[in-house]
């Protein structure tokens, strides 16, 4: 029995859905297989904060009933998924991995959750993350750090560390994460799975607990590129409840699953291959570029001159927005409330000081500083100017090339505790991902091999706004020719 469970959790969403459609497996069997897997592994990996076993089984039964005797079955019907714990789920605890929201039960579903439910996806539970999505290692969770499934002494990346670890270790068929400065792509890279950060405005943020509203975007973490396209088909689209959601026609992303990059112009930004990039990672990315050339793509060197200012601009803008967004946590309306206080100001201060962790406080302080009188022009306004320059860098690059290829992270998964003493060093590890959010572009991270320690290396393809299709086509071509994703053989 256990053996067959393991086999079921190895299936990608596309493969499992096919078996469900052909009645070879039932939604209940598949859900049980995942729950058994979570039971077996979650204690060691810490990917889930909340497992909704009973609810998932009830949902599985009801989905199976709906499917019985029906011919037209939606592509993801019956597929079990995990959800990052900053995406609101009605009556299911949604914590943002913070003590502040340890008792928060949202009264409504996020737009993406409604869409998954309408597509008959089964929700397994809520995934661990860095507190309020602030971090690159998942060590900032109030509950527990997540372990990298490939090496339990290493971080899974962050902030969607639980999501990437769950998908890599087969505790979830796919997951939804969120990406403010790399939080989908970097953990996908560290855990050897596929992660897509959609264009700003392509996926509704309604019900995503805000960190930095002009940068946040929800996206899929999957085993392979085909699953990524399937999930995008469900979650992308206009939503009047999110004023930044863009009202355009969204394509069927599966039509881009083509093994063909002939004539595709791929740019390699010289700034992404300089000092700080680990030699082994660099070699893998350059190998991938060569592979693309052999498939008929045209490789060209490009320049993104303002790259070096992306991290300071990102940390100023995101912290400024966070300091404003997180002002709502005052202990009155919902969330943690301090037990003893002398007056209302003391209540606010104690609630916030006891409820937030160190990194969240650090960002609130940095944001408050950047927005405070006397510093606003020097930091916040300046960062917004740099934002335009970075945006223009990409616009110029896209006059020459169709997509940009580079590393997702300068290093592979680092050891737990290795960077916690130095917050700045942690910030610098986001060097290749933050520009994408600053410029509102889309980007995908996909596995491109292993380093000498056996840890996954991820490469990043960056696309024009709303050109996820080209990313999917390019990623699918690489995957089809190399077989380097879809296999998450992390030894467990």
């Amino acid at each position: 029995m256990e053996g067959s469970f393991l086999e079921l959790t190895k299936l990608t969403a596309l493969m499992a859905a096919e078996k469900i459609r052909k009645r070879e497996i039932s939604v209940i069997e598949l859900t049980n297989a995942y729950l058994a897997r979570i039971d077996e592994l979650n204690g060691a990996i810490g990917a889930y904060i909340t497992v909704c076993a009973e609810q998932a089984l009830r949902q599985a039964e009801s989905v199976q009933k709906k499917l019985d005797g029906r011919e037209n079955i939606l592509p993801l019907a019956g597929i079990p998924a995990g959800i990052k714990d900053n995406i609101c789920t009605r009556d299911v605890k949604t914590t943002c991995a913070s003590k502040m929201l340890d008792n928060f039960f949202p009264p409504y579903d996020a737009a993406v959750i409604e869409k998954l439910s309408e597509s008959n996806v089964v929700i397994l539970g809520k995934l661990n993350m860095d507190e309020f999505a602030m971090g690159s290692s998942n060590e900032n969770s109030w509950y527990m750090p997540v372990k990298n499934p490939w090496d339990h002494e290493r971080v899974p990346g962050g902030s969607s560390g639980g999501a990437a670890a769950a998908v890599a270790s087969h505790m979830s068929c796919f997951a939804l994460g969120s990406d403010t400065g790399g939080s989908i792509r970097q953990p996908a890279s560290f855990c050897g799975v596929v992660g897509l950060k959609p264009t700003y405005g392509a996926v509704s943020r309604f019900g995503l607990i805000a960190f930095a509203s002009s940068l946040d975007q929800i996206g899929p973490i999957t085993r392979d590129v085909a699953d990524c396209a399937l999930v995008m088909n469900v979650i992308a689209g206009h939503d009047p409840l999110d004023s930044t959601s863009v009202d355009i026609e969204y394509p069927d992303y599966t039509t881009f699953l083509k093994n063909d990059v002939k004539g595709l112009k791929i740019g390699l930004p010289k700034e992404y291959f300089g000092s700080g990039l680990h030699e082994e990672v660099k070699a893998k990315i350059l190998d991938a570029a060569k592979a693309y050339e052999s498939y008929g793509a045209i490789i060209e060197e490009i320049s993104l001159p303002f790259t070096e200012y992306a991290i300071p601009a990102y940390y100023i803008i995101s912290s400024a927005e966070a300091s404003s967004n997180l002002a709502r946590y005052d202990g009155i309306k919902y969330g943690y409330r301090a037990k003893e206080y002398s007056d209302i100001i003391d209540l606010y201060k104690k609630t916030r000081s006891e409820g937030f962790g160190t990194e969240v406080k650090r960002r609130i302080m940095l944001g408050t500083y950047a927005l405070s009188s006397g510093y606003y022009d020097a930091y916040y306004k300046k960062a917004l100017k740099v934002r335009r320059l970075i945006f223009e860098d990409f616009q110029k690059a896209y006059q020459k090339v169709d997509v940009i290829l580079g590393p997702t992270s300068p290093v592979t998964a680092f050891k737990i505790g290795e960077k916690t003493a130095n917050p700045l060093e942690m910030y610098l590890s986001d060097v290749y991902t933050v520009s994408v959010n600053i410029a509102g572009l889309c980007a995908i991270s996909l596995p491109c091999g292993f380093d000498s320690k056996g840890l996954p290396v991820g490469m990043q393809l960056i696309g024009k706004p709303f050109d996820e299709g080209t990313l999917i086509r390019a990623a699918y071509t690489y995957e089809s020719n190399t077989g380097k994703s879809g296999v998450t053989n992390c030894g467990i």
Partner: protein
């Protein structure tokens, strides 16, 4: 640029946060390093470039606004279900004695 403990205390007050002496010491040192790094942004450009707040933002005219129609919404009890000790009021300790 160096940041003093007094400045950190002022920021903490603005952000409605409080720190122990030990936390404050550590924070000041870390903050100094982070601000020095944030300062590198000031080497990027001089003057002129236009700011961009939100890359996806569209200009919306008053003609584009949707009609102000009543839509279904959640009942008050549901919305307020996360309030600690809610009984028709947000109850907190007296702040004026």
């Amino acid at each position: 640029m160096s940041i003093s403990k007094t400045e950190i205390e002022k920021l903490a007050k603005l952000a409605k946060l409080s720190f122990s002496d030990e936390e404050l010491e550590r924070f000041t040192a870390e903050f100094d390093e982070i601000i020095a790094f944030a300062d590198t942004i000031n080497q990027s450009i001089e003057g002129g470039t236009e700011e961009i707040r939100n890359v996806g933002a569209r200009m919306v005219s008053f003609d584009d606004l949707r009609a102000d129609e009543v839509m279904p919404s959640l009942p008050n009890e549901k919305i307020l279900s996360n309030v600690e000790g809610y009984n028709g009021f947000f109850s907190v300790e007296r702040s004026k004695k």
